[in-house]
Symmetry: C2
Subunit: 390 residues, 2 copies
């Protein structure tokens, strides 16, 4: 078992009608607020008005940056960082899903430096020495950005989509109101749930000796997604389903479940290349890749983890040969993603063909992470997995 440091000082207001605390929390950091959001869905659900009302009530001044894209782009980050400087912003308030929160994190860091914020992400890997404080109001259960210190930013000019973690970008306070996700469409709910599941699978499929306790926790989180994602798709305003998905999204990736596991992720680096080239929804790309990756990596040495997954998460009969159980586990996961959640099951169905496979595979392995994954993968391996996804 590896040592680890647990340090997640994010304060979370969970539930309905907690926005009354927004003003008091923002005020702890100063008077000038940059409000960031996406395409305006927060206006449709009435959240924007509530947020503005609370900000005004607290006597704070607000400037706004809207239009942050899904797969958020470095140009939005640049604009936000500049606005922070121009308006002497004290605190950033991100209202939205993972894209808005991710972009806001790099604005908060970019506000504190003189160089281009893309340098945090490209090969320069500029150090994040500090960042302005961030408060979030979550409207989509998926990326866990509300309780972690990472973000993923796209640069369409270079077809790059790159993630970066730094504790300085951890939100100070996050407001998680499940009813703010009632308007999330069944399709986006499915994509978000696939993303949550992938965050757990990336850590769970690990042969390190580690904390059994956390394996149990991860199995519980996965069972929660499997139980409630279909409910939330059928009944968008089922509070219990939305609440379970929302709190699970935060704990799937806030680093608690890692418990010192040092293994690099597998499907995320591959998917980032797919969505960098085709701008598809992250969770959809993960859904297509994950079962193929599991199939590709399955061997005698690793099979025990597949068995544990199949038996404890999907309730597969343990009294069978290990390889049989493993294959049933992959099939059960595929069924969940493609039948229960109804996600498209192949690249072909999304209009993705081999055109960019070579470049995408090369970029997937460029940063070297896949060398340290569950099963180490090189470019040829990634190409084969992409082929399986067609």
């Amino acid at each position: 078992m590896n040592n680890f440091i647990y340090d997640i000082p994010v304060k979370v207001y969970f539930g309905e009608d907690q926005l009354q605390h927004l003003g008091e929390e923002l005020s702890k950091f100063g008077k000038h607020v940059l409000l960031t959001y996406g395409g305006g869905s927060i206006k449709k659900i009435g959240l924007y008005d509530k947020v503005i009302a609370e900000i005004k009530k607290a006597g704070l001044e607000v400037v706004e940056l809207s239009g942050i894209e899904p797969n958020p782009r470095i140009d939005s980050v640049r604009k936000g960082a500049q606005m922070c400087k121009d308006h002497k912003i004290d605190v950033l308030l991100a209202v939205g899903g993972g894209s808005t929160i991710d972009a806001t994190k790099f604005m908060a860091a970019g506000a504190c430096v003189d160089f281009d914020p893309w340098d945090f992400l490209n090969e320069k890997q500029a150090s994040v020495e500090k960042a302005l404080p961030i408060v979030t109001i979550l409207t989509l259960a998926a990326t866990g950005s509300e309780m972690d210190c990472g973000g993923v930013i796209s640069n369409p000019e270079t077809n790059d989509k790159i993630g970066r973690l730094d504790s300085k970008m951890l939100p100070k306070v996050s407001f998680l109101d499940p009813s703010n996700t009632f308007s999330v469409s069944p399709y986006q709910t499915a994509c978000g749930s696939s993303d949550i599941l992938s965050h757990i699978i990336e850590v769970y499929f690990n042969m390190n000796q580690d904390l059994y306790m956390l394996d149990c926790v991860m199995e519980g989180l996965m069972k929660t997604v499997i139980k409630y994602a279909p409910v939330a798709m059928r009944e968008p305003d089922n509070y219990e389903a939305r609440a379970n998905l929302m709190w699970t999204s935060s704990w799937a990736i806030n680093s608690f479940i890692d418990g010192g596991k040092r293994q690099a992720w597998s499907c995320h680096p591959m998917e980032h290349e797919v969505s960098a080239f085709y701008d598809i929804t992250h969770g959809l790309g993960l859904a297509i890749l994950t079962p193929r990756w599991m199939e590709y990596c399955l061997n005698e040495q690793m099979v025990s983890k597949y068995v544990q997954f199949g038996v404890n998460v999907f309730g597969i009969n343990p009294n069978q040969e290990a390889m049989i159980i493993a294959k049933q586990a992959i099939a059960a996961l595929s069924d969940f993603l493609f039948k229960t959640l109804g996600l498209k099951s192949s690249f072909t169905a999304l209009g993705i063909d081999r055109t960019h496979f070579e470049t995408m595979a090369e970029k997937s392995v460029k940063l070297g992470a896949l060398k340290y994954a569950f099963v180490p993968l090189d470019k040829e391996d990634v190409l084969r997995i992409f082929e399986m996804c067609l």
Copy 2:
């Protein structure tokens, strides 16, 4: 489902050889350290010397308060609070188990007031306006005090044993090195494990509509205790077993698993009276009480929770009548506590008779919590449960 605020900003260094960070963490709070510990076992295991070396290396000044009792007493708290004032202490370093950490929390609060710290606990319930910062080094996996904001203090003059929570007393940093628990005896390991299990059961047995996700997490934590407590008893220096028990102890009671459940605990208020009168180990008292309490509270309305517990934690065959499963679940828990852990199974075996039952039952219900428990209990109920424990 109820709303809740999640706010646990405790930084945890988990694993071996993390004490190199002790000096840097203490120094954040100042130069003057009050080191608190119990009967000296930290000297036997060599931990004391390591701690002193790190403190000296960081150039800090230390005064010591040793001899903190199991079931820590208000006199120790008074002494520690006074030492904080006399020596202008900046930070308290508690090295030990729950007793030492609990007492240290009230010293830290007591250092900031002019009145007797017992007033935090007695019917005055004096407000905890502030507390000096606390750092802990844990040597026993049990109470979870290293990551929660509560403590329980005894007053032998009045036969009182009272708990109190306040976020101001939350440790800033805790060092959790599983190897610091290698020397914990099989008996104390059993008592600690019973305590951890009870913390989870007190929350889990709840009929509120709540987060299924957290039920899954709790089941995982309980399975972890059931799997690893016997291993740690048989092989005291099994790192994996000690690590699992240690991290589980923190998460069993740091409030994460509550998720807004508002229900009062049942066995703890009763046990506090038992150990206030007889000075027995808390976890032992809980072990004797818990299965009897479960038996006493079992009825048609509550049986579904017993079934969930039996099936998901003990793997009991679900294809039976609910009441049968519930009784098998209670039997499985009793077997675990009294056979696997080898704890004494009755008050009689501890020399406890009816002498103080009336007073103990009366005090159990005095603060009113049992009125809001899983099954509301009055004095007569508690008396009957005590009788069942004979």
